[in-house]
């Protein structure tokens, strides 16, 4: 077994990552406030992109995504093309998910924001239960379980809740992926297949390098993930669904040489849980 790489980031780097993540969530919240019945997915992603560009973002890890209605649970997805924003129109009572990944000064954020318009009791329950997964993943990673084991633990929790695993629909069935500081030189702001050109460069390089070390920068349930999380930053995105409603969060998990913690706790979903706890 090759040695684990050391944790590569200093406090300054982490602060920059946190800033990028705050910016991304801030934009998602702005779009969430703007969104209303009648808006299409394409309009929502365009608004999200405008918002990010206004905030100074020049490059994207991947293009912004928006899913409405049963598309939040990736129902009837057969080809990867279906991930791209379409003409689905938001209606009263529908859930939605926004997903964007701006790169700021080479610091990448990759976030997911779930919301609803109007009343949706299924969404309410999912949103409340999502907290369990945030806590479960951190607990398991701290115990230095392999990524595949954490994935299985999430699946077991999903079965107990009666939900199903929707991150298995993502390419590679990933629940997360490693995020590094981008140092690629390709053209900024240009994307291929939905991923930024610089992303593809970095990701391709990482895939090869990590593969040689017997690790994977992608976090799934298979053989390639039978290793403890590599120190560094991981964008973790448990995506859970019940029937036609799906919800996710996506945020950066810091895995240091001995410990692990969520990069930032001042995020919309964490604040929502705190409010609910106070109310209860």
């Amino acid at each position: 077994m090759p040695d684990q790489p050391r944790f590569p980031y200093g406090e300054k780097d982490l602060a920059k990552f946190r800033e990028a993540q705050q910016l991304a969530y801030h934009c998602a919240e702005q779009v969430a406030a703007w969104i209303e019945p009648g808006v299409t997915e394409r309009q929502a992603t365009a608004e999200l992109r405008r918002c990010l560009v206004r905030a100074g973002v020049r490059d994207f890890f991947h293009v912004p995504f928006a899913w409405f209605g049963d598309r939040t649970a990736f129902r009837h997805f057969h080809t990867p093309l279906q991930f791209f924003a379409g003409s689905r129109v938001l209606a009263e009572g529908m859930p939605y998910v926004l997903d964007c990944a701006p790169v700021v000064d080479g610091y990448t954020a990759d976030i997911g924001y779930g919301g609803k318009v109007g009343e949706n009791p299924v969404w309410d329950l999912l949103a409340k239960d999502l907290r369990t997964y945030r806590e479960l993943i951190l607990r398991e990673v701290r115990a230095r379980r392999t990524l595949a084991e954490v994935y299985a633990a999430v699946d077991a929790q999903l079965a107990a809740h009666g939900y199903d695993n929707r991150h298995q629909v993502y390419p590679g069935r990933v629940i997360g992926h490693q995020v590094t500081r981008s140092t690629a030189r390709g053209p900024a702001g240009v994307s291929l297949f939905g991923f930024g050109v610089r992303t593809l460069q970095t990701l391709g390089r990482e895939l090869v390098k990590e593969r040689l070390e017997g690790r994977s920068p992608l976090w799934a349930g298979g053989r390639a993930s039978r290793h403890a999380p590599t120190p560094g930053l991981w964008a973790v995105e448990p995506h859970i669904g019940f029937r036609d409603v799906g919800i996710k969060f996506e945020e950066l998990l810091v895995v240091t040489d001995e410990d692990a913690y969520w990069l930032d706790d001042d995020l919309p979903h964490v604040r929502r849980w705190a409010l609910q706890e106070d109310a209860a």
Partner: protein
């Protein structure tokens, strides 16, 4: 307004210029029930039912247009369903302007009440609907269409049988002849027809004195509505809770005519009564009244905001996960009230919570189905707290793998206790309740493809499931006269947590965990979701299908076992499972 001797108050209600004779009994402060009679009756066909219900209901009957003391429309088009539906609303508005009414209808009364019940927004005026022997003609149009489009042998047989039972409808289209038959003697013969064919004893005052003219006018009902509605059916849905009472010995309306009714009526409760078309009302009035009373009490005052107070009651054992949970959810989706039990109470409660998301009422109990006394106590509790269930799904089961010689006595006991005794206890406790209630029901027993697919590594498991299969076959025969159906479900390889909790003979803890993980992975790769099994269970209850192999492998094994049992015996030697 003129009074009648037995406390019946008579009044006249105007509906679009036509005078309807309305008869009221009971305290108007009680919930209002409107009874709508069929052809060729008048309101007096309800005498027994009305007398019984009047004790705690405001009972309203009326002579439908063209019959009894009501006005007779001049033209055929005045017998159109739209107008007949409006008559019901006119009566409802007159007798209970402020509160929604409960409607009970029979025969043509039922056909026309369906028109009212499937009018958009009907739930505002109609709190519940009990229907006997009278389908919605639009639903029937779709029923016929569906069968013509998919002419399976079963569908064709249904069409032919219902066609043979509907001969008189064709006769009624004949000019001159049909009215003449009534005038020239059929009306006089009617008491004998009822006595000999319908098992109705002759009684004074029935049939009504106006029978001949009612029958002649009523022919227009058929002529004005049958052909346009059945030929060009409209999509008619309703949110009103409906109780469908199937009369077992009905000569005119076959029970399978209501197959698929859930498509139009999500909040449907099915009941059966051992009666003929007319003996239900004329001989078993109190039984019908009891059914109505139970149904109106269930949803009294219920409006759209509380969609779950009615609906059939479904009990699911082992409802905390897998097929049990999916089945509970599937029934909840269809407006049923659901009771789940499991030996893992939090899991059962979770299922109940998910059921409530569909707007259903759900409750969870801690029960180990292997414990007979516990199941008896559970059944009594369910009966006391929720009523006698309409459907019981004996789903709880455990997996076990091991050859015969490897399997210990203790393991044998555990497997048989849950898989076989669990089903026995469930069928006995709930079957008895259903028989006592006397209005039918359905038991669903979860067997397995292993019930007919021998495998040397599944000695105990396959034995237990095979016993469930045979038990269900015997029980089906025994309960048939009580109109309690029994379905055996044989799922096959389904992705549930049964593999994560299965035990394996002769393995230590670590090897067991590894084996469980391996088998779970295999089942996950097969990827057959429990929701599909649940859908099959719901369908089996609806169509009263006796044996349902679910997955392709379960179907193939059943077929293979019939074509070449020797091949299956040989395959049983394979070291799998």
């Amino acid at each position: 307004m003129t009074g009648r001797s037995n406390g019946t108050r008579r009044r006249t209600v105007d509906s679009g210029g036509l005078a309807l004779a309305v008869y009221e009994q009971g305290d108007p402060a009680d919930p209002t029930v409107i009874l709508v009679h069929g052809y060729p009756d008048d309101h007096s066909v309800w005498d027994d039912v009305a007398a019984d219900l009047a004790a705690d209901h405001h009972v309203v009957r009326y002579d439908t247009r063209g019959s009894g003391a009501s006005g007779v429309p001049a033209a055929r088009e005045d017998y159109r369903l739209e107008l007949l539906g409006q008559d019901l609303y006119a009566v409802a508005d007159a007798v209970s302007p402020d509160r929604p009414v409960h409607v009970v209808a029979h025969d043509w009364g039922s056909v026309q009440s369906w028109e009212a019940v499937t009018t958009p927004g009907a739930y505002r005026r109609i709190a519940s609907y009990t229907t006997m022997s009278g389908p919605c003609l639009d639903h029937m149009g779709y029923w016929i269409r569906h069968r013509l489009r998919r002419p399976t042998p079963r569908h064709l047989a249904q069409l032919l049988r219902q066609g043979a039972h509907s001969w008189y409808i064709a006769l009624f289209q004949l000019p001159v002849l049909a009215p003449a038959a009534w005038r020239l003697g059929l009306a006089r013969l009617w008491p004998r027809v009822l006595r000999d064919l319908e098992a109705v004893r002759t009684r004074p005052g029935h049939p009504q004195a106006t029978l001949a003219q009612d029958a002649v006018h009523g022919i227009e009902l058929y002529r004005a509505n049958m052909s346009p509605r059945v030929r060009a059916p409209r999509e008619r849905y309703t949110e009103v809770p409906v109780q469908l009472v199937t009369l077992q010995r009905d000569r005119y309306v076959c029970d399978f005519l209501s197959e698929g009714l859930e498509r139009w009526v999500p909040r449907l409760t099915r009941r059966t009564l051992n009666a003929t078309h007319w003996s239900a009302l004329l001989e078993q009035g109190p039984t019908v009244a009891a059914m109505v009373r139970e149904f109106t009490a269930r949803d009294h005052g219920a409006l759209r905001q509380e969609p779950s107070a009615t609906g059939e009651l479904v009990v699911v054992t082992g409802g905390g996960s897998g097929i049990g949970r999916a089945t509970a959810l599937a029934f909840a989706d269809r407006g049923a009230r659901v009771v789940v039990c499991d030996r893992d109470l939090p899991a059962a409660q979770r299922t109940a919570e998910l059921c409530e998301l569909s707007g259903a009422k759900a409750a969870a109990y801690l029960v180990d189905v292997g414990d007979g006394a516990a199941v008896d106590a559970f059944a009594e509790r369910v009966a006391a707290e929720h009523g006698v269930p309409d459907v019981v799904v004996n789903n709880a089961g455990i997996g076990h793998s091991g050859t015969f010689l490897e399997t210990t006595e203790e393991e044998w006991r555990r497997v048989l206790d849950v898989n076989l005794w669990g089903v026995i206890h469930g069928c006995r406790a709930f079957g008895r309740l259903m028989v006592e209630r006397g209005t039918g029901g359905h038991l669903v027993n979860l067997a397995s493809a292993a019930a007919y697919l021998p495998a040397k590594r599944l000695a105990a498991y396959a034995t237990s499931k095979s016993a469930v299969f045979m038990l269900s076959d015997c029980l089906r025969a025994e309960l048939a006269p009580h109109r309690i159906g029994v379905s055996t479900i044989c799922p096959g390889i389904v992705n549930t947590n049964i593999t994560r909790t299965s035990t394996f003979s002769g393995l230590d803890d670590e090897a067991l965990a590894a084996k469980q993980a391996k088998v779970s992975k295999l089942y996950a790769r097969r990827g057959f979701p429990p929701e599909k099994v649940a859908a099959e269970i719901v369908r089996a209850v609806r169509t009263r299908k006796p044996v349902v192999p679910v997955t392709v492998e379960a179907k193939a094994a059943r077929l293979l076992g019939r074509l070449s049992p020797a091949l299956l015996r040989r395959a049983a030697r394979i070291d799998a499972g």
